[in-house]
């Protein structure tokens, strides 16, 4: 293990000559994005393409008595008006459950509501027209007769016997419940000198991808094929689901994903309106396009977080943590989202809480309940921001109570760097983490002692600045343990096919996808390094189920660690194949040769023997000149899935430095630091930018973002003027550093980095606010987002 700076030297343990591993090479696909020449799904047009608009329920819960479609059908440009009942003859409903989440239940969900709408925004009728504007005009002419029903909106009372059961056939409003006890929490609390107990609240928020969800479905009856241009993170998963629910074979469906305008977990789920689009295309035998507008996005894109966690920590006066306890409650809307379920976030909170620390005494309960609000599901860093803020909030509250420095209490309780393999209190397994080295690195990087001195000086001038920390762990590189074992056809493995073309350039077809993280750059780096060509000679193809190996896509911080390893192995395999041909041409043993900078060389001296261009010319056009029995195989495919560990956990620590204006309650972020350990760093710049973007997304949840609902289930701020997202002026500069602990589960040793920033930032900001206000005797703030109003209330000023 070593500390790496932000720009580690070119060569790493993956010691190939001219290696690109560990180098900040630019992404190959940027110029088309900067020039406005990208192809987002919202840009796609096809011959005979029609547009769909949806009439959506204005009620959180209502019986649909009748829909009068006559006026809409007669409106200009209208091609079809289709109700939920009519569409249910084309596409079957689904139920979002997985067998490994014991007891999880949900009700069948239709592409368009049939008889009943269960949240404000659920589609109740589709209008297909020549243009989107005409479709929207005609939607206005639909007369939907609703009988409003009681809306169940408060998760706290969803399980009360007096509360309406949203799906009577399920018996109650409980989606999923998990209880876990480890060690001896009662004895742990009894042994504590101090027990700190509080309730953490995490507001509902959502992804707000800059490009809304978009899909163009094209059913061609002549080919009996469905081509779907889809802004998705998981093309093969969607291929399977479109086929399954339309009654097609998988090979009849092709999902094409080019540029995607932001995803963050929003675009990895089954959306009812998107299922309606593929069904409408099948019904109407022509391409149908749907792009959510921003208002639709707010009430139909999955929401996330919205957890209430009662939490308790026991600690001795010497800082030793003796026990943890959490009781989590979350309301996930009327359906568990298909196919990943809406039980995963709560499940992750049980898994991750207390995870960085040695204390084994742990009691947890999580309950997931139905309600009549928009659905919730997995969004960037699933469960991590909550588990981290709860854990780290408890640790800093406990430290304050016993008068111990917040870094010192961590030093005394974080799992030692030489204690691995180790387990967390929930039983999660860690191959090797670096909490202490990360903490030491952070301490130095931020000049902690200097900042504390500055803080003290400023307090004398009644300027209140705070320092907050959050140690964290992050689940990356998931094996089949995440979804596959629960019965979902979501690939844990991924593949790469590498092909030498006739001029010596290389194509890499990968099952992972690109939504801006830089997956295509990482694939190119892995192939160029393993095979031995300049990176400009590698062309990466992703996002097409007809033309890439079967794979999972890009989510759960898996693209670099899993897709990258497959690309690395495929590059090595092709090198072997090419050197076999080179050996026969050059009358040399293949093991004495290598490929460097696109040229076959002597492995020992580096002397040039044969260009790849010439080798390919012979193999493709003059194979008659090769010895009898020599068949050049200039294409190789390799797959990879982690097997030794269910997940490659990463770790790190973040710090926030901020100022609270105690007159206005406004928080000014001054600086943010993150040390993280994602194992081998393939591209330092891309890792750092994932961290920075993730931190800012986490800050959004801590300070601004909140899907506000009234008690009747109406979302009150479903627009970008009222739903606040982080903008440039409010965000601080973020300093990123690394510790490098490769996983031994792959040759590359790379773990994921996409969610670490989001995992730790909210907890660090919360702790910094409370640190700033502690000398004023403020009630600790634990209810996100921390608005000026909440801060003034904590100070007793309003």
């Amino acid at each position: 293990m070593k500390i790496a700076d932000d720009n580690p030297p070119a060569l790493t343990v993956l010691d190939r000559p001219n290696s690109y591993i560990g180098r900040s090479v630019p992404r190959p696909n940027l110029a088309r994005l900067t020039q406005g020449r990208a192809q987002f799904v919202s840009d796609v047009t096809l011959p005979r393409m029609a547009h769909v608009a949806f009439a959506r329920s204005p009620h959180a819960h209502a019986r649909i008595k009748a829909i009068d479609v006559a006026a809409a059908k007669a409106a200009p440009g209208v091609i079809a008006v289709v109700t939920g009942a009519e569409l249910s003859k084309v596409i079957t409903p689904w139920v979002g459950v997985l067998t490994h989440l014991k007891g999880i239940k949900s009700a069948p969900q239709h592409a368009i509501a049939v008889d009943r709408a269960c949240w404000q925004g659920e589609a109740v009728c589709a209008v297909v027209a020549r243009s989107r504007a005409e479709a929207e005009d005609a939607c206005e002419k639909l007369a939907v007769d609703y009988t409003p029903l009681i809306a169940v909106t408060d998760a706290e009372t969803a399980l009360d016997p007096a509360t309406l059961v949203i799906h009577p056939e399920l018996g109650d409003n409980l989606t999923f419940e998990r209880a876990h006890t480890a060690g001896d929490p009662d004895q742990g609390f009894a042994a504590a000198d101090v027990v700190v107990e509080t309730t953490f609240v995490f507001g509902r928020h959502t992804g707000v991808t800059n490009e809304p969800r978009a899909i163009v479905a094209d059913w061609n009856p002549g080919e009996q094929r469905l081509t779907v241009y889809h802004g998705t993170q998981a093309p093969h998963m969607m291929m399977n689901l479109f086929a399954k629910h339309l009654g097609l074979e998988e090979h009849q469906v092709r999902v094409v994903t080019k540029d995607v305008g932001g995803s963050f977990g929003i675009k990895v789920h089954t959306y009812a309106d998107e299922m309606a689009v593929v069904a409408l295309s099948k019904l109407l035998k022509r391409p149908v396009k749907f792009v959510a507008d921003r208002f639709e996005s707010f009430v139909t894109d999955i929401h996330a977080r919205d957890h209430r966690v009662k939490a308790k920590i026991g600690v001795k006066n010497d800082g030793t943590i003796t026990a943890w306890e959490i009781d989590d409650l979350t309301g996930i809307g009327p359906y568990s989202v298909y196919p990943r379920t809406s039980g995963i976030e709560a499940n992750q909170i049980v898994n991750l809480t207390g995870g960085p620390y040695t204390c084994p005494n742990y009691r947890a309960r999580a309950r997931v309940v139905f309600q009549n609000k928009n659905v919730m599901c997995q969004y960037r860093a699933v469960g991590h921001p909550i588990a981290t803020a709860v854990t780290e909030g408890l640790v800093e509250l406990a430290a304050a109570r016993i008068g111990m420095d917040p870094l010192e209490i961590r030093r005394r309780n974080l799992i030692a760097d030489d204690a691995y393999p180790a387990s967390g209190p929930s039983g999660i397994k860690f191959e090797k983490l670096s909490h202490h080295e990360s903490l030491a690195h952070l301490d130095a990087m931020m000049n902690y002692a200097g900042l504390r001195a500055e803080q003290a000086r400023l307090r004398e001038r009644k300027i209140y600045r705070g320092i907050g920390f959050a140690s964290f762990i992050e689940v990356t590189n998931p094996s089949a343990a995440f979804y596959g074992v629960g019965g979902a056809r979501i690939s844990a493995q991924d593949g790469a096919t590498v092909r030498l073309d006739a001029t010596g350039a290389v194509f890499c077809h990968s099952g992972v996808t690109e939504q801006g993280q830089g997956a295509e750059a990482v694939m190119a780096q892995c192939v160029a390094s393993a095979f031995g060509v300049p990176i400009e000679r590698v062309r990466v193809i992703t996002g097409d189920t007809d033309n890439t190996p079967y794979g999972g896509g890009t989510w759960a911080s898996r693209a670099a660690g899993i897709g990258g390893e497959a690309a690395w192995q495929a590059g090595k395999a092709l090198r072997g194949n090419v050197l076999a041909v080179a050996g026969s041409i050059l009358q040399a043993k293949p093991e004495t040769l290598d490929i460097r900078k696109g040229i076959v060389v002597n492995a020992d001296t580096g002397a040039e023997r044969l260009s790849l261009d010439e080798l390919a010319r012979i193999a493709y056009f003059r194979p008659d000149t090769l010895p009898a029995g020599v068949q050049a195989e200039l294409m190789a495919t390799r797959h990879y899935v982690p097997r030794a560990w269910p997940f490659a956990f990463t770790n790190g620590i973040q710090a926030s430095w901020l100022e609270v204006d105690i007159r206005t309650g406004a928080v000014t972020l001054l600086k943010h630091w993150c040390i993280e350990d994602c194992g081998t760093i393939i591209n330092p710049q891309l890792v750092d930018e994932q961290i920075r973007g993730g931190v800012v997304q986490g800050i959004g949840g801590a300070l601004f973002e909140h899907c506000l609902y009234d008690t009747g289930g109406q979302m009150l701020n479903a627009n970008m003027a009222d739903y606040l997202v982080p903008m440039a002026a409010e965000m601080p500069d973020i300093e990123v550093g690394h510790v490098v602990t490769p996983t031994a589960d792959s040759e590359l040793g790379a773990k994921g980095a996409g969610e670490a920033g989001t995992a730790g930032a909210p907890g660090a900001v919360m702790n910094a606010i409370n640190d700033a206000l502690r000398p004023l005797g403020a009630i600790p703030l634990t209810d996100m987002p921390f608005t000026p109003e909440k801060i003034l209330r904590a100070l007793g000023k309003v």
Binding site: T34, N210, P212, R294, G516, V695
Partner: protein, 160 residues
């Protein structure tokens, strides 16, 4: 709906079209002219993805109607790319990875160009303020600020 004839100079080309009065400029650019580099993120003037230049001013393409642009000069990302006007900004964004998904990037580049147009070298706070009308969900903004700052300094250096 009665159509209205308009004539406008779009990226240097004179365009005559009949448009619905209700059609926004960005829909006109994207759907009528196929200029899909201007993006639609919110359609209510917040996100800045549809930023284009009308008679030299960067405006929201979703808050202006196409018919209001009769007689105007409109520049989009396609135009300023082809002309080379912002080549240094584009190169800096690419080098610094100041974009991830790239959906905000055309609007962000036009905003940046408006800031740097007068040849000044703004400080980081000024850059952050100026691009506060352009929403980026991916980068956390720091890389964008770095790229704009680098171009401002380079342009200033080139003038010396």
């Amino acid at each position: 709906m009665a159509l209205i004839d308009i004539t406008a100079v779009i990226n240097g080309e004179t365009v005559r079209e009949s448009v619905e009065p209700r059609r926004t400029l960005v829909d006109f650019l994207r759907e009528t002219l196929g200029l899909t580099g201007s993006h639609i993120g919110c359609e209510h003037g917040i996100c800045g993805a549809c930023s284009v230049r009308v008679d030299g001013e960067v405006i929201r393409g979703c808050l202006i109607l196409a018919v209001q642009c009769d007689g105007a000069r409109v520049d989009t990302i396609e135009g300023v790319s082809d002309s080379g006007e912002i080549a240094d900004l584009q190169a800096a964004f690419e080098k610094r990875n100041a974009l991830q998904c790239g959906f905000c990037t055309p609007g962000m580049l036009l905003s940046a160009q408006a800031l740097l147009h007068h040849g000044n070298v703004p400080d980081r706070e000024t850059i952050r303020d100026h691009i506060s009308g352009n929403y980026c969900r991916c980068t956390g903004y720091q890389a964008i600020v770095d790229a704009i700052e680098a171009v401002a300094l380079a342009r200033a250096g080139a003038r010396k």
